[in-house]
Symmetry: C2
């Protein structure tokens, strides 16, 4: 019995059985909103995503939110915008975990940069996940629902944050997972999701990287400024859209699920699911983050992660031994 | 890094975190019946047990069901009774997994044996789990609820079986687990449960045993008749009330949870929980088995079992090596 192969087989079976028992190869589309019980039972408890097409098409935001309206309502409002040289806020670059430059801008100026030809290499993304819709952009809250009623009833609490997203087509949210039950609604444009369930965590390579932030310099280039106070950050090292399988052979076993949301659509993205997101230019979205329960699923997930760590450790040892023998 | 210790540490952490995150050292007692959503969210989804005292005290069965009433209603009814020499139906004995002698008796005769001084060493237990309340004993169904309404609504289905239990104080249900969500109600007397969550599966030793049945012979002794057609049966090898820790050292890490149900009480015993049960003499109970969902919790449980198998395999190998070195 080869130890590494056996542990790996267990992890592979876990991933495979998830697909056979309660997940599909694509995100199922529901015809109507679920009841609170159905939402909890069939999706939250099973940790399974779904889409409802045109679920929020009746929101005033769908007809009202365009650059002109946002400029009229919010032109002088100061908003926090993530600025990067490549569209990647919170991602690995040059051996660092690089966070965006957080720039306070007038909403009007931000909208102008989005709607005109780029004058610099900078990519702008309004994506601050501190419930920016209810704080910086509170004059927009009447155009959407304050919360998703069936989710609030099922989860027994209001959302912890309601976030507004608007940005450049080059802006990318690199693969990561959140400790939230996430209800994601697109208001205009398109969002493209690449998803992986937590049962495939072993296939998703992580590294520890010293933290840094981007800072645009006077030449319009971006410097990477280390942030030693933050220390190192564990982050996913693979881009699911163009994975380096030589460096990350385990990822070949992952079976990413893709889906696209259009204006009016809602996605339930369950807690601990890995997700990578990109979008059409100027896509506007609103998402609701509800605190997850740290219950048996979370406990089992942490256990699975720790078994994956042991398995990876043995793989690396084996590779080390092989290398030594070859040297 | 010692492989066995590391895997074992992961399994220990899983068990410990379950206690810290969502289980307690005792079974919580609810003041009232939960709503279907609360039942699913706080208990089924978390795989956590609870008790409601006097939950079914209003059932006619509570005042009606005694030997006299049962004899009047059912005296001539043929019922299937488990007969054993020691009270253990479905348990390990002399290297076999021994099932009880299944004896068809008149209900009146069965009640007489229970209420009089024992004339043989045989222990009788009416415990056939084939929904015997709705089949053999259907004239009693009006005295209890057909199903537990909040559970039926939450689980979206009727119970798969409703079982009637009546037996000797020497009758014991040895430790095992079921693929059912179990709602257990005591009508008279007391039931004593010893429970272990599925996150402690590694601590629970199993063995594979050839199947057999008891058969009382003409001298009133019991023979063990092998059942080669059934093959071997995997079964728990430890008695949680007097564990042999020298033979099963892992069980020392288990933290069994005990609880007692009295007339009118209801226990929610979640799927895959190990349970050992004994009772006061003549205790009557009714339980409702609802099919469990084979979802993410089940998947993670099977994964945990398989990691436990690897861990045990290495332990045994190590013991074998040590023994060889000593020889």
């Amino acid at each position: 019995m080869d130890e590494v192969i056996s542990l790996e087989e267990c992890l592979q079976t876990l991933a495979l059985e998830a697909r056979e028992l309660y997940l599909r190869d694509s995100v199922p589309v529901l015809d109507t909103e679920p009841s609170p019980l159905q939402f909890y039972k069939d999706f939250v408890s099973s940790n399974a995503p779904f889409i409802i097409r045109n679920c929020v098409s009746h929101w005033p935001a769908l007809s009202k939110w365009n650059y002109k309206y946002l400029k009229e309502k919010l032109g002088d409002q100061s908003v926090s915008v993530a600025v990067t040289p490549n569209g990647y806020a919170d991602a690995i670059h040059d051996g660092f975990f690089v966070m965006p430059e957080e720039r306070q801008m007038k909403m009007g100026d931000f909208l102008d940069t989005l709607s005109s030809e780029p004058v610099s290499k900078a990519v702008f993304y309004l994506q601050k996940q501190n419930s920016n819709l209810t704080t910086e952009l509170s004059c927009l809250v009447d155009d959407v629902d304050e919360h998703i009623s069936w989710a609030t009833e099922a989860l027994g609490k209001l959302p912890d944050a309601v976030n507004f997203w608007l940005g450049d087509k080059r802006a990318v949210t690199s693969m990561h997972k959140d400790h939230y039950e996430n209800l994601y609604c697109v208001i205009s444009g398109e969002k493209h999701f690449t998803l992986l369930p937590p049962t495939e965590t072993y296939f998703v390579p992580y590294g520890d990287f010293p933290a840094a932030v981007y800072k645009e310099n006077s030449e319009g280039d971006f410097d990477i400024i280390p942030q030693p106070d933050i220390g190192t950050v564990p982050w996913v090292t693979v881009d699911p859209l163009s994975p380096n399988l030589k460096k990350n052979p385990e990822f070949a076993q992952a079976r990413p699920i893709k889906c696209t949301l259009r204006a009016g659509d809602l996605l339930y993205l369950p807690s601990l699911w890995f997700h990578h997101v990109h979008q059409s230019h100027g896509c506007i979205a609103v998402n609701y983050w509800y605190d997850m329960e740290f219950d048996i699923k979370y406990n089992y997930f942490k256990f699975t992660e720790s078994i994956g760590d042991i398995c990876r450790y043995h793989h690396n040892e084996k590779r080390g031994r092989k290398k030594k023998e070859t040297d």
